[in-house]
């Protein structure tokens, strides 16, 4: 692996860690999700620091170059993350629907009683 890729990976990892820390500090994501992002940045950092292990793994898995393995890991994790988000959105939608229905029914009842 080229030296510049090592540097890029390490810098990206640091950037991701700082970004995660920033949004965590601002309270925009719960701690439980920040763990996931720290995990991501750690993996990127490990690839940057110990490329040999990953080269070995990528050879065993049949990737021609190690960077392809890195990209495959990232795409795979993003897909899983999207899946998890889709499930969460569906759950949220169910809850808002229920809330809208209950509030609307209560409102109608109140207005009827007021008359």
């Amino acid at each position: 692996m080229s030296q510049s890729l090592t540097i890029t990976l390490i810098l990206s990892s640091i950037f991701l860690m700082l970004l995660t820390t920033y949004v965590l500090k601002k309270g925009r994501i719960p701690e439980k999700y920040s763990l996931l992002w720290y995990g991501f940045s750690l993996i990127i950092l490990l690839v940057g620091l110990f490329p040999n292990i990953f080269t070995w793994i990528s050879n065993k898995l049949g990737f021609e170059v190690m960077s392809n393995l890195v990209i495959a890991i990232i795409i795979g994790s993003l897909l899983l993350l999207t899946m998890a988000l889709t499930i969460m959105v569906a759950g949220q939608k169910k809850k808002t629907t229920m809330l809208i229905q209950e509030v609307s029914m209560l409102k109608a009842k109140l207005e009827a009683e007021r008359k």
Partner: protein
């Protein structure tokens, strides 16, 4: 014993039809000494539907945000459940459905022969509005998938003119799909081993407004409904029991 009947009328931008629909029901009640209650669910209409409902004292619930057909109809079932209705009838606000047929579709329920009755355009050959050729093909395909996933042939799978018992009112108030509710709930009800009947009805062409199933959406609609029916095939279902 006289059973309490509620007509659930979902309305989204129905300012042209809703008053007419309501008056037709009211006059029918007067003439035939029937006692069909009405609840209009105004699904966040952007036109004057809300104003018309209020000015004419039509019983209604204004949803504080648009939910789409499934969420609106489910609100009606929740209302029916909390007000202890025996039978709920889904009824369109756009003049497509004919109140004279309500008697027919609630009859099997009153006689305890069915739990869900679908007002069907395709059971018998009545000379009536049966929608376009392409849509009839679509309904046939959905019907085939329905047969595959539930083992029962339902001819008019997308009919929004249906009546159901108290048990199903409760069931629907707990869970109701937000999209493509008619075919999906029919399949689910069949899987839960309720008795489903189809009764021939005539439907009118829409008087005004736009149907919620637009032409260009039809293929997307078909794919989704068929997929949902396949998912229902592999799921397990239990009746929701009232506590």
């Amino acid at each position: 014993m006289k059973q309490k009947v509620l007509l659930i009328i979902p309305a989204y931008n129905e300012e042209e039809n809703i008053l007419n629909t309501y008056n037709t029901i009211k006059n029918y009640n007067k003439k035939n000494k029937t006692n069909y209650d009405v609840i209009v669910i105004n699904d966040g209409s952007k036109d004057d539907t809300k104003k018309i409902l209020e000015e004419n004292h039509i019983p209604h619930i204004n949803l504080i945000h648009n939910l789409g057909i499934g969420g609106a109809v489910q609100t009606g079932y929740k209302y029916a459940y909390s007000n202890d209705y025996d039978i709920a009838v889904q009824y369109d606000g756009d003049g497509q459905h004919d109140v004279r047929y309500v008697k027919n579709i609630i009859e099997p329920i009153i006689k305890n022969k069915a739990d869900l009755v679908i007002g069907s355009r395709f059971v018998e050959d009545i000379d009536t509005f049966k929608s376009t050729f392409a849509r009839r093909i679509g309904i046939k395909i959905i019907s085939a998938f329905m047969k595959f996933s539930t083992g029962k042939k339902i001819y008019d799978t997308t009919s929004g003119f249906r009546a159901c018992t108290k048990e199903i009112i409760y069931d629907f108030s707990i869970s109701y799909p937000s999209e493509y509710p008619e075919p999906i709930t029919t399949a689910e009800i069949l899987k839960k081993k309720y008795r489903v009947w189809e009764i021939p009805v005539e439907m009118n062409e829409r008087v005004g407004g736009i149907s919620s199933i637009r032409a260009w959406k039809n293929i997307y609609y078909m794919i989704n409904v068929c997929l949902a029916l396949l998912a229902i095939k592999i799921r397990r279902y239990k009746k929701c029991h009232r506590v």
